[in-house]
């Protein structure tokens, strides 16, 4: 069975933030919440790398492990979703997540938080597929429409890959093989301890 994954090719990402914008527009994400963001390392220096980050839909999701109300569930596509009806906005998942994926709307003064919001892999939520209730709480359900997350489909440099983990891993593998030595391929320095010409 296909397992849905994201994979960001950092050699291709140009930090255009189109994925962030596409996500916000597709799901009408409220002000102050970013389900996806672009992180840049060594900004402005040689070797600068950008990577688009969102919920990585972990197999053994730490957010689900710490949730006091057990509002998380994993679909057959290996997408980690949650119920906003059960969420109490405690913030535990935010501290547990290594990617900073859970976001909270500010619902009042003094830092009070609302229900957690995060990337749904464009797969909606526990409400009926493609309904108004689902859209209002979780955004659109592109997976049910036979599509993939819009952030990946929108990516102009084809840096962000989404879909069946095995297929996108193969696509990435082909890219790394094609680039060859000196491409700055992930893991090269770790494996060979050599200076990588970019």
């Amino acid at each position: 069975m296909a397992r849905m994954k994201f994979l960001c090719d950092a050699d291709r990402c140009i930090e255009c933030n189109a994925c962030v914008t596409a996500c916000k527009n597709e799901h009408e994400v409220p002000w102050g919440i970013n389900r996806r963001r672009v992180v840049t390392l060594n900004d402005g220096k040689p070797g600068e790398r950008s990577i688009s980050m969102a919920c990585m839909h972990c197999t053994d999701a730490p957010c689900a492990a710490v949730c006091p109300v057990n509002c998380f569930y994993t679909t057959a596509d290996a997408v980690v979703l949650h119920s906003k009806d059960l969420c109490i906005g405690c913030g535990y998942c935010f501290y547990a997540c290594p990617f900073g994926a859970p976001q909270y709307p500010r619902v009042g003064n003094f830092g009070s938080r609302g229900k957690m919001d995060k990337c749904t892999y464009c797969a909606g939520g526990p409400e009926a597929d493609l309904g108004t209730a689902e859209y209002e709480k979780y955004g659109s359900n592109r997976l049910a429409e036979g599509k993939l997350p819009l952030c990946a489909e929108m990516c102009s440099t084809k840096a962000l890959l989404a879909g069946d983990g095995e297929i996108i891993a193969q696509i990435y593998k082909e890219r790394v093989v094609r680039r060859g030595y000196g491409s700055g391929a992930w893991g090269w320095k770790t494996a060979y301890r050599e200076t990588v010409a970019i």
């Binding site: 994993t74 679909t75 057959a76 119920s83 526990p126 084809k158 879909g163 069946d164």
Partner: protein, 71 residues
């Protein structure tokens, strides 16, 4: 003497009360009796597979792979 006997009775009463409540608390926090946390299950209809390799998805894979450059 009468007062001492009363005092002992009172102590016994509170001792028994304390012991009983201690047993109740122990039962409540005991890992043996605790219920196992269950993940939220919205039902099979909502956790079923939605992904399918439609033409749209195949086009995404095709345009992201290097095979498009070979054509």
């Amino acid at each position: 003497m009468e007062q001492d006997k009363k005092g002992v009775d009172r102590r016994k009463f509170f001792g028994a009360l304390g012991g009983a409540s201690g047993v109740a608390v122990a039962a409540a926090v005991s890992p043996l009796t605790a219920t196992v946390a269950q993940a939220y299950d919205p039902g099979s209809a909502e956790t079923k597979t939605r992904y399918r390799e439609s033409e749209h998805v195949k086009a995404f894979y095709r345009t992201n792979g290097y095979e498009t450059l070979k054509k």
